[in-house]
Structure formats: C-alpha cells, structure tokens
C-alpha cells in the first residue's frame, strides 16, 4: 500500500512539483528572513535565479549553528501567534535548537508520517505501541500524530518502565512497534525474563525504528527476535522530525519524501554536490515548510542516494541508512550529544580541569555513557561525602543540559590517555558491524 499517489509518480512529475516548490521557498525565505536575504545578497543571487533544480547549488548552506545564532525564533517566517507547536533539542552551550510549526506544517508532518506508517503496512485496523519519548523531542508526538492520521489506535507509552511496556504491548495486542532499535531489544530481554513467548503472546507484525545509527546486524537481531518486519525511519527536528524518509519491505534503503524535502549529497569539505552512489553529507532543503523553511540544511549525516526504481513501486529517491557523521556528534539512546556539551558542563564546574574523557559502551542493549573526570587539587576534599557530591552534581548537570544519563567516574590526574599530548576525548566501544 502507498499512502499518496505522488510517491509513485514519474520523475518528470516529481521534479516539476519540486521546482515549483523550491522557487516558492526561495522567494519565501528571501522576503521573510533577514538571515537568508543577507546570504542571498552576499552571493549576488535572487529567487529568480532558480530556473531549474540544478540551480539549487547556487543557494547558500544553512548550519545548525545558524539556528543557535537566531535562538529562539529568529528564523521563523510566520508570526508567533500562527505557531502551534514548538520542539527543541539540547544545545551545545546551554542554548537548545528550537523548531516551530504552524498548522500547515503539522498537516505536512502528519502526511509524511502517514506515508511512513503505510510503508510499514499499518492501517486503521492496527494498534501502535509508541515507545518514542514524548516531550520536546520530536519522536513521540511525531509518531503519535501520524498514527492518528492513518486511523490506528495509538498507545502513547513513551520511554522507560520497560517491564510495564512489555506487559501493555502484550495485553493491548499491539501490532506495530515504534521505538529505537536498542529499546526494542531491551524490551525483548524483559519479555524473555518474564517468560513470555514472542510468537504466542504478541501480535506484532512490524516495527518502525529510528533515532540512532543502526548496523545491518542489529536490524536483523531486532527483526528475528520479535519476528517482525523492520522499517527504518529517518528524520531530524530541523527538517520536520521523524518522517523525512523510511524503508519499505523490499530493501534497507529509505525512500525520501522528496516532494517535501529536497535531498542532496555534498562533499563536506568543498560543498560540491556529489552524484548518486557516492557517500557524503546529506543536505536538505524544505520545499513546503511554512514556519521554519530551511535552505540546504547540513544534517552532518553521511550517506548516499540512489534514483533506481524500487520493487515497491515508489519512485522517490532513496538513501542508505546513515553510515557516519561529518562532525563529532554522538547518539546516546537516541539523543544527540556533542562532546562540546559535556565540555561546557565540566567547564561550569568550579575547579575541574578540561581533562575529561567520554566513554560510550553498551549495557545490555542500551547505551551507557561514562564520563571520566580528573580530580584536581582544587576539587579534592578530605571527605568521601564531598567527593560523592561532586560526582552526583556533575551527573545532574549532564542530565539537565544534555537530557541523557551519564555516570561520572572520578580519576587521578594524568590518568586519562593522551594522544600526542592531547587528551583522547571519546572512546566509543559500541561496535557497529556491517558499516
């Protein structure tokens, strides 16, 4: 089943829609956003220079930093009273990245999420167990509204309380699971411990997984353990949230809803546009967004594109599952974390040196973030309680600033590995086989 006819339209038809929308978006940002007006002027271009889709390469890039520089609403192109929803992600130096939606944007989001659900075989007959976190993070509400749009029953379980979630998933006969892949495996462990039978006790037929990098091995494990079809969803709040692209059951590649989100792959260093099949940084231009249209937004995600037709009948361009990052962003249990955010917290703690190390590992199926902090003479106290408090204070600050749980380990100075005199900041022990 395909939700919208446009998904299987001819290339000519898709490009015709894209060009018209690209011209409108260029016009929109040029006339409504001083930031873009200035950028266009600097490049000596106007929206009228967009005569073909290839002309998109004349347009300026947008970076995450640009959103931060205009915190909170500086890049919005609608009046605040038209905004119906705000989402945000954690920020590097205390200021989060903020995104806004007007009514039309919400309809667009519902539309692309309905396409995702349909791709996973969900209809009004289904019950969706939604274990993505509800809140400022776009995952929970994005999946929630999309399920409503296709008419399915949605169980808004959000994150945490694994044992209870497993029980509800069984008792409410959920047929579609929406969660991060690692949480799906975590739930499987819990179900196993409770002595449940995956075939008899659950009615699940498919899962829509995303929000973290996933190897083919991990996908197979989730799919086999639960005995369900694995659909990978991709998205980022700056573009819409989940629902930018999704994989059908014919391959691991993700169909990009390119009538709304125009995708390019560029060389991260030079900005040059790369052809199909070559890996580079994924860049999106929103074609229909109203409140926060973005031109050539650099996602930092590394992947490649292909226009080859898919057996499912969809003709939209497909992307590989993300293979890496162009920057040092880490993903911890679905939450994006930059080392600079950790550094910010440490620098705010009086007496600590910036000699720290981030160690990421797996505990069971979940990510475990450990931060090694060197104890300086300034923070050394002759009391176990005071040292224990230092540890928990840093942990609390990390949770408040980064929205992730970390365990802080106090270590003797100079014990953190140095490479060429510089501390090795990140040790990622999670192995992503297959990438």
């Amino acid at each position: 089943m395909i939700w919208n006819q446009i998904e299987s339209s001819s290339r000519e038809k898709i490009e015709e829609v894209q060009l018209k929308r690209l011209q409108e978006t260029a016009q929109r940002v040029y006339s409504l956003t001083p930031f873009y007006k200035k950028k266009f002027d600097e490049l000596k271009i106007t929206p009228n220079d967009i005569k073909s889709l290839d002309d998109i390469s004349k347009l300026p890039f947008t970076k995450k930093q640009d959103l931060r520089d205009h915190y909170p609403f500086g890049l919005f192109t609608v009046p605040n009273n038209e905004i119906v929803r705000i989402h945000s992600s954690s920020g590097t130096t205390g200021k989060p990245t903020v995104v806004g939606y007007n009514k039309e944007d919400m309809d667009l989001w519902d539309e692309v999420m309905a396409r995702v659900y349909t791709m996973a075989g969900a209809t009004a007959e289904d019950t969706v167990h939604n274990a993505y976190g509800y809140g400022l993070f776009t995952g929970g509400l994005g999946f929630h509204n999309g399920a409503y749009k296709v008419g399915a029953t949605v169980i808004p379980s959000s994150g945490g309380f694994t044992d209870r979630q497993v029980m509800l998933m069984k008792d409410f006969s959920a047929t579609i699971l929406a969660s991060t892949p690692s949480f799906a495996l975590h739930m499987a462990e819990s179900a196993k411990k409770a002595g449940m039978n995956f075939k008899k006790d659950f009615k699940l037929k498919a899962g829509i997984f995303g929000a973290e990098p996933t190897s083919d091995g991990l996908k197979d494990e989730v799919s086999k353990t639960w005995g369900i079809d694995y659909h990978e969803v991709y998205g980022l709040s700056e573009i819409i949230g989940p629902g930018v692209s999704c994989s059908c059951k014919h391959s691991n590649l993700l169909h990009i809803f390119e009538d709304h989100f125009f995708a390019e792959i560029i060389n991260s260093e030079t900005g040059e546009v790369l052809p199909d099949g070559q890996r580079g940084e994924l860049v999106f231009t929103t074609l229909t967004k109203q409140a926060l249209p973005l031109i050539r937004y650099r996602t930092g995600d590394i992947t490649s594109l292909t226009h080859e037709p898919c057996a499912c009948g969809r003709t939209m361009v497909r992307m590989e599952s993300i293979v890496g990052r162009a920057d040092d962003m880490m993903i911890i249990n679905g939450v994006n974390v930059y080392p600079s955010q950790v550094e910010h917290v440490i620098s705010q703690t009086e007496g600590l040196t910036l000699n720290y190390q981030i160690v990421i590992d797996k505990k069971g199926h979940l990510d475990k973030l450990e931060i090694l902090v060197e104890v300086s003479d300034e923070v050394m106290a002759d009391s176990i309680a005071a040292m224990g408090k230092l540890k928990t204070d840093i942990e609390t600050a990390i949770l408040n600033n980064l929205y992730v749980n970390a365990s802080v380990k106090l270590v003797v100075p100079r014990t953190i590995e140095r490479s060429m005199g510089k501390a090795v900041r990140i040790i990622d022990k999670r192995v992503l086989e297959g990438n």
Partner: protein, 141 residues
C-alpha cells in the same frame, strides 16, 4: 592551641590495582616516613589519609607526579591505657557541641594515639577543651 594542629594529607585514590603501591613507593623512594596511614573508600574511589614526617615535601612529591591531595588539620591525643579513655575524649567534645567528622587510631613506639578530625572552625576550641580536661594532646606523632 594552634601548635596541636597536625598536618594530615588526604590523597585521592582510584579503586584499582596498584594505585596504593604507586603512592607508597613514591613516598618511600623520597625517604619520607609514614607516621600513620588510613584508607577510606567509597565504591569507585577512596581517600588515603596519611601523616608523614615532612608534609610539605610529600605534597610537592605527590603534586609533581600528578596526584591530587588536600592538607587537613587534625588533632591527636595520647591513648591512656584505661577503660573508658576514648569515651572521656568524645564526651568532652560532645558536651561542648563539637562534632567529630572521622577518627582512627595509630600506634607509634608502643604509644597509641587517637587521631580525629573536627570542622576546621572547631579545631582550636576542641584543643582548648581537651587541654583544660587534662587530656594529653600530641604536638606531633
């Protein structure tokens, strides 16, 4: 009363093999003598509290090798060998609203001592209280 303050070094140690030996080896190598050693530990880390014959030199040696430490003033009283001698000390302090943060005993040259830490604002007061009660406070150990 300040003469009674004894310098104790509190050194941060991780709970791992060889950590303690690194410190003791370093101190011995520099011909510094331990007067007392007391190790307290939490789950992942500990504090090694030592009294040495040359605290300034020890601090320098440890700092140079990258250990973190802090110097704390503690009091030491001679253990009088009769039943209830500890109790007398504690009672005196308690009657004067002085709280003992931690304590340990040491044995040097057949004489024992009772080392304890009070809040630094209470230190001089504690020394005075004990002195007035004819409890023998040690100037060095």
């Amino acid at each position: 009363m300040k003469k009674y303050a004894i310098k104790q070094l509190s050194i941060f140690v991780e709970n791992k093999m060889g950590e303690l030996t690194d410190i003791t080896t370093l101190i011995s190598k520099n011909n510094i003598s331990f007067k007392s050693i007391n190790l307290v530990d939490a789950n992942e880390f500990g504090i090694l509290r030592v009294i040495v014959d040359d605290s300034d030199k020890t601090k320098k040696v440890l700092d140079d090798e990258g250990f973190s430490l802090t110097i704390t003033d503690v009091l030491a009283v001679e253990i009088d060998d009769h039943v209830g001698s500890f109790n007398e000390v504690i009672t005196e302090l308690s009657n004067n609203n002085i709280n003992i943060e931690y304590t340990y005993t040491i044995n040097n040259n057949q004489k024992g001592a009772f080392v304890f830490k009070v809040a630094s604002s209470d230190l001089l007061n504690a020394a005075e209280v004990l002195h007035n009660s004819n409890i023998k406070i040690l100037e060095e150990i």
